[in-house]
């Protein structure tokens, strides 16, 4: 009897929790199918005529262009960060390096640093170089903020794989670069994919950096979304339709690495 009472309380608490988490997501999703008229209903309606008004706008050329910009910025920055960071992660995992901890903590402090602090001088520097509103400026900055993820996450993954294969390759006369590309990376594939996805999602979802550095040509989806809010009549259904489309790829990627969420979120500090 005592046990069932406890189970009941636990289940009630879990249902409350489920509602708390799902309620905003539910509203986001259903509101994106409202028409330009029914989105302004008050009290807000749950049952309504399903309309694709909002998705027609969300898939118009204007928005597809913002999606294109987001894709360019996140893919390029994620791959650049991997190219720059993976060799360093390997060296930090395997070799005796002077002041290794200092290096690791310094790299971590870039993750901890408030982006607003560097983005204003970078904005001025990019203005002098005529790089404002270009893909390049965004890619350069996103790469910077992705490198700490690459180094910390990949170092953890590399340290976990046994050294024997690398030692054998070294005896066979392979160079360090061959060892990294042919031996280490194939074994640490889950690590590589986890890192790539965290880098992609981070750049994909960024607002502040793109907001300061772009205005028309390289504007990304989050910035375009935010610019809808200042206007007097927000067509929330359109905003939410874009939001739904923007969220889907991130969720698919997250699902692919479902066993490594905690590792990614904590830069490999907690082994999930």
């Amino acid at each position: 009897m005592k046990l069932t009472m406890r189970d009941l309380i636990i289940n009630v608490l879990m249902i409350i929790l489920l509602i708390w988490i799902a309620f905003p997501l539910f509203w986001l999703f259903i509101s994106s199918f409202k028409s330009n008229v029914s989105i302004f209903d008050f009290p807000p309606t749950i049952f309504f005529q399903i309309s694709l008004d909002a998705y027609k706008v969300a898939l118009s050329w204007e928005w597809l262009n913002y999606f294109k910009n987001s894709i360019i910025a996140s893919l390029s920055s994620a791959f650049s960060a991997l190219a720059i960071g993976v060799p360093a992660a390997y060296a930090l995992a395997r070799y005796e390096i002077k002041r290794k901890n200092f290096t690791m903590i310094t790299i971590l402090s870039i993750r901890m640093m408030p982006p607003i602090v560097t983005i204003i001088p970078l904005f001025l520097m990019f203005s002098f170089l005529n790089l404002i509103d270009s893909h390049l400026s965004l890619i350069l900055v996103y790469t910077t903020f992705n490198i700490p993820y690459v180094i910390w996450i990949m170092r953890g993954f590399i340290e976990e794989i046994p050294k024997e294969a690398e030692e054998a390759a070294l005896i066979d006369g392979a160079s360090v670069f061959q060892i990294i590309t042919k031996v280490v990376l194939p074994i640490s594939k889950p690590g590589l994919i986890t890192t790539l996805i965290f880098c992609l999602v981070q750049a994909w979802n960024d607002f502040l950096i793109a907001f300061v550095l772009t205005n028309v040509n390289a504007k990304t989806v989050p910035v375009a979304l935010a610019s809808l809010v200042g206007t007097r009549w927000v067509l929330w259904n359109q905003l939410f339709a874009v939001g739904v489309i923007n969220t889907i790829p991130a969720l698919v990627l997250a699902y692919l690495i479902r066993n490594y969420w905690v590792k990614g979120l904590t830069l490999g500090m907690v082994k999930g």
């Binding site: 489920l18 988490i21 402090s109 602090v117 001088p121 690398e166 935010a226 939410f240 969720l251 999930g272």
Partner: protein
């Protein structure tokens, strides 16, 4: 490994070092230079004023102190409430149960959504004219809930959004900690007659300490940087009540007065505060990580 690889060690790290130096230490050096200038962005050039910006913002009753205390208040309350939420929910979900399984799966959703989108959803939910939460409040007899335009409501509203958004971060980390706990200790403790509270207090909590420190560190530092939420939901208002440092810096250097020198001076102090707190925290709670670069 072999001695012959000494040279290649350096070659492997050099690209990272060069890149990060150019992209962070160089802008920060430029930031220091800017902080000695009085420079309105509409003017062609700034004038050198020495420490005047710092004197201005460190004078008693300055906007900097006000903004710093708002930032710390937000960061401490957000981190603390997310910590309690995370611990409670993780203990709740740490069981084989179909609802628990579903919740564990959707916890990642807020963490993978664009933060700006989350802020927009809540701006809609809180909307005084058509928001669903306004409707629920009306049903409960609160006619004008003023979620975002009055103090102290605005703080609770912002923290509710923050818990929704980042509570799952705490939950996922604590859950993974709970899963890694050695089962034998609980069995032994149960035989010794320890009830679930003493088990939690004397076995679970100490074992979880390293993981909890990491989760708290990340959340505290990240909530000090809060910008999107303020920009979208309150624009620093009502009045200046929610003008956190990130928003203050943005507003003064690129939004309102275009006074980059002042913004740079605030940025430097902000950077010092954040990095100082990170290092102090890591030294205090994560000695292991300081020595070995990792916990466990």
């Amino acid at each position: 490994m072999a001695k012959s690889s000494k040279k290649s060690n350096i070659i492997l790290i050099i690209p990272t070092l060069i890149y990060l130096n150019i992209m962070t230490f160089f802008p920060i050096a430029y930031l220091v230079y800017l902080s000695f200038l009085k420079w309105n962005l509409f003017e062609h050039k700034g004038t050198f004023v020495g420490l005047q910006n710092f004197i201005q913002l460190l004078s008693p009753g300055s906007l900097f102190y006000q903004s710093l205390s708002i930032t710390l208040l937000f960061a401490i309350s957000a981190t603390f409430s997310e910590f309690l939420f995370g611990l409670g929910v993780a203990l709740l979900l740490n069981r084989e149960n179909i609802i628990a399984k579903i919740i564990r799966g959707i916890l990642i959703v807020p963490l993978m959504m664009a933060p700006v989108l989350i802020d927009m959803i809540w701006k809609y939910l809180y909307n005084p004219v058509l928001g669903p939460l306004t409707y629920f409040a009306n049903m409960m007899g609160i006619m004008q809930p003023n979620f975002l335009d009055s103090e102290p409501n605005v703080f609770f509203s912002l923290i509710a959004v923050d818990i929704w958004q980042y509570g799952p971060f705490m939950v996922l980390i604590i859950l993974s900690g709970l899963l890694s706990l050695p089962k034998e200790q609980f069995e032994a403790a149960a035989i010794d007659g320890a009830n679930s509270f003493t088990q939690f207090r004397y076995i679970i909590l100490p074992l979880l300490k390293p993981i909890l420190s990491i989760a708290i560190l990340f959340r505290f530092v990240d909530s000090m940087k809060v910008f999107n939420k303020i920009y979208i939901l309150t624009a620093g208002g009502p009045g200046r009540a929610t003008e956190t440092l990130s928003y203050h810096i943005f507003y003064y250097s690129l939004g309102f007065t275009y006074d980059v020198g002042y913004g740079a001076a605030v940025s430097i102090l902000f950077l010092i505060v954040v990095l100082f707190m990170t290092l102090v925290f890591m030294r205090a709670f994560m000695k292991d990580m300081f020595v070995k670069g990792r916990v466990q």
